[in-house]
């Protein structure tokens, strides 16, 4: 196996527990960039540099961060920044690691991005399950306030910034940016109709910048070292490093930071140790549970936004879930649909009904109550969900499920058949005259 090593920029020194405290972070050069920014850097230069660097959103959509900032209108109305730390995509756990080990890197990134965008109040929306990480952030924010890096007139620059850590309460949908805004406004987390986009009209009706934890953690590095430095990592269309969460049937599941563009084989075999002994990889989700699955034939592709899109999938939040040959794909599809059925907020009919129908049909498949025709119905339901809702939650189920039905149709058919025959004795037991049941003594 090739001797791939991690390229740790965001996770550098992360093994040192002191990094989570302000003194530890400052001993590694932390907050120097913020100090320099407030003293001598022009906000427009930062926006330009972020755009130039090609930093793409690390939360799933992969949209250019610099462009997002530049969409904010240059007006005097209060503007907001929301850091999306709701990380609820199955398979993703990188933001947890970044917040737990290096919370100040995120806070510094938020402060610099807020300065560039003219934001007056920033929020970190962290999922309610991450209680310990939220405690760490609370502590870090308090430290940053007392050190004068947050609050009124930061370091005498005249720039004011409030930062509030807001805990969610367990809803996948709140990772969707407009649902996140609703949840932050104290409502049920339902997505909003777009446009208007949050950059124009978001939190409390003001222009709002929403970025993922990892994206914001990159900001201070780009401002300190410049766009060219950032572009020296990764590929042309996917610059930078990426913290990749690898889980499922591998020997060493965990977070690994690599340059974008390394091969999937290096990631899964080199870093995560490959499948468990005696097992082989059967399929994997390359970008969280909402990405269409890929097969071992695609293991030599580079891990980048463009290569994953070309292969008909997506890099998403950078979370690889590996399934080996012991895993039944129909059951994995059912597990996936069950999750989205539960998490659908119920606002749009195609998603609310579609996720529920799909889950029921897939349950029938694994229970032996389906016919091969159901597979075509499943595929058609997925087609009717995609693109027909306010947000992409429905699509997030439709994409992996339809890819599994397409790529593993044989297995679905075998499962239907085998599960059907396995159920025959039980079925017959309920009948009044089991004329062709062997023995006839069941039930």
């Amino acid at each position: 196996m090739s001797g791939i090593v991690e390229t740790r920029v965001l996770l550098r020194h992360a093994e040192d527990p002191a990094l989570a405290t302000i003194d530890g972070y400052r001993s590694y050069g932390g907050y120097e960039t913020l100090q320099r920014t407030l003293k001598e850097i022009d906000p427009d230069w930062i926006v330009n540099e972020l755009e130039e660097s090609g930093l793409r959103g690390r939360g799933g959509a992969g949209f250019s961060m610099g462009k997002k900032v530049s969409f904010l209108p240059h007006t005097d109305e209060p503007k907001y920044l929301c850091c999306n730390a709701d990380e609820s995509e199955p398979g993703a756990f990188k933001d947890r690691e970044l917040m737990q080990r290096n919370p100040h890197q995120l806070i510094e990134g938020i402060a610099i991005a807020s300065f560039a965008a003219g934001v007056c109040h920033a929020f970190i929306f962290i999922r309610g399950e991450y209680d310990r990480q939220a405690d760490i952030l609370d502590q870090a924010v308090e430290e940053a306030y007392s050190a004068g890096f947050l609050g009124k007139d930061i370091l005498g620059s005249g720039f004011d910034l409030e930062l509030t850590v807001h805990r969610g309460a367990g809803a996948y949908i709140c990772g969707e940016e407009t649902a996140l805004l609703d949840a932050l406004e104290g409502k049920r987390g339902n997505p909003r109709l777009k446009p208007p986009f949050p950059a124009v009209q978001g939190l409390y009706g003001g222009p709002t910048l929403i970025n993922n934890v990892e994206t914001l953690s990159n900001v201070s590095h780009i401002v300190a070292n410049g766009a060219e430095w950032f572009k020296s990592f990764g590929t042309e269309q996917s610059p930078g490093t990426k913290v990749v969460s690898i889980s499922g049937c591998v020997k060493r599941p965990g977070n690994y930071e690599v340059e974008l563009g390394v091969s999937l084989r290096d990631l899964i075999f080199g870093l995560a140790g490959g499948p468990l002994d005696g097992r082989e990889i059967k399929a994997f989700y390359p970008g969280g549970s909402s990405s269409p699955v890929l097969t071992p034939a695609e293991l030599d592709l580079p891990y980048s936004f463009e290569a994953m899109a070309e292969a008909g999938s997506m890099l998403g939040s950078g979370s690889i879930i590996v399934a080996d040959d012991s895993v039944s794909i129909p059951r994995m599809a059912q597990r996936t649909s069950k999750f989205y059925r539960h998490e659908s907020c119920g606002k749009c009919t195609p998603c609310r009904e579609g996720t529920s129908w799909t889950d029921k049909m897939l349950t029938r498949v694994v229970d032996g109550e389906a016919t091969p025709m159901d597979l075509d119905i499943i595929a058609s339901v997925q087609n009717n969900i995609m693109g027909n809702c306010l947000c992409v939650l429905g699509d997030a189920m439709a994409m992996p499920v339809s890819s599994m039905v397409k790529k593993f149709r044989d297995e679905f058919e075998t499962t239907i058949e085998e599960a059907f025959y396995a159920e025959v004795p039980t079925r017959l037991a309920g009948r009044p005259v089991p004329i062709f049941a062997e023995g006839g003594d069941r039930g």
Binding site: V5, E6, T7, R8, R12, H13, A14, Y25, Y28, G29, G30, Y31, P78, E87, S88, P90, G91, A92, F93, R96, R101, H104, Q105, E108, E129, Y130, R132, E162, T164, H166, R167, A169, G170, A171, Y172, E185, K187, R188, G189, Y204, S220, H221, A224, W229, S245, I246, G248, C249, P253, G254, Y256, Y285, I321, A323, V327, M332, R335, T336, F339, C345
Partner: protein, 257 residues
Amino acid sequence: MTTIPPEDFTQGEPAAEENRRPEGFRSPGLPVDPANTTGRLPEGDPQSIPDLAEVDCPDDLREHIEKLVAKYPDRDSKDIHRSAAIPALWAVQRRYGWCTPEGIRQAAAVMRVTPAYLESVASFYDLLRTEPAGKHQVLVCTNISCWMRGGDELLQSFCAATGADPEEAAHGGALSADGEILVSGFECLGACDLAPMASIDERYFGPLANEDAETVVGQLRGGDEVLPEKSLAARGLAGGGAESSDPRVTSGKGPNR
């Protein structure tokens, strides 16, 4: 079951005498089956803002919620800060163990919103419990990665160890026989590297073996620290301490130098 009185559907014209609402009429709402509500019928009118004087809100809870409200810059036309809804419900849950109808009324009175509003928020989110939730909560992840590594079996083991109903535990949660421990299957807790894992009293533990369920339940009941060696806090990075020697990284001028 309560019956619904005939509603007046005529628009514009005054309703016929026999269809007119009597003076001081208050709708009793939809028919309610007490068997399905498990204590969720709040006393008093859920549609009006309760008076702080009559809800008997403990001072510390009131001060805590007021502090939360002050953290948010939002204000609607009635000068109400709704943003604090979720944090306020967390405060109620932390104090009473779950979002009790009385607790919701107290928070509503402090925030000056209707209890019905907070109830609607509480029922949307999985972590806000609108039913008794015991003293300890064990959430076992059964989503894709944990399922592959035995999450379902782990949930079964916790049910066996506590005596909670496995069917109910997999569908929203079940209490142990003595009502002390809540066991619930949960979907992706964001710790797939620990698979199969569980969140025990809001702290993450994994990878757990099925036998660990017995130990955990014993430790919870005995008031001891839960599995210190398997906690997330004790884990290092998956790739170990090896730092890259890449000159671009080592000569970086940003943080983490």
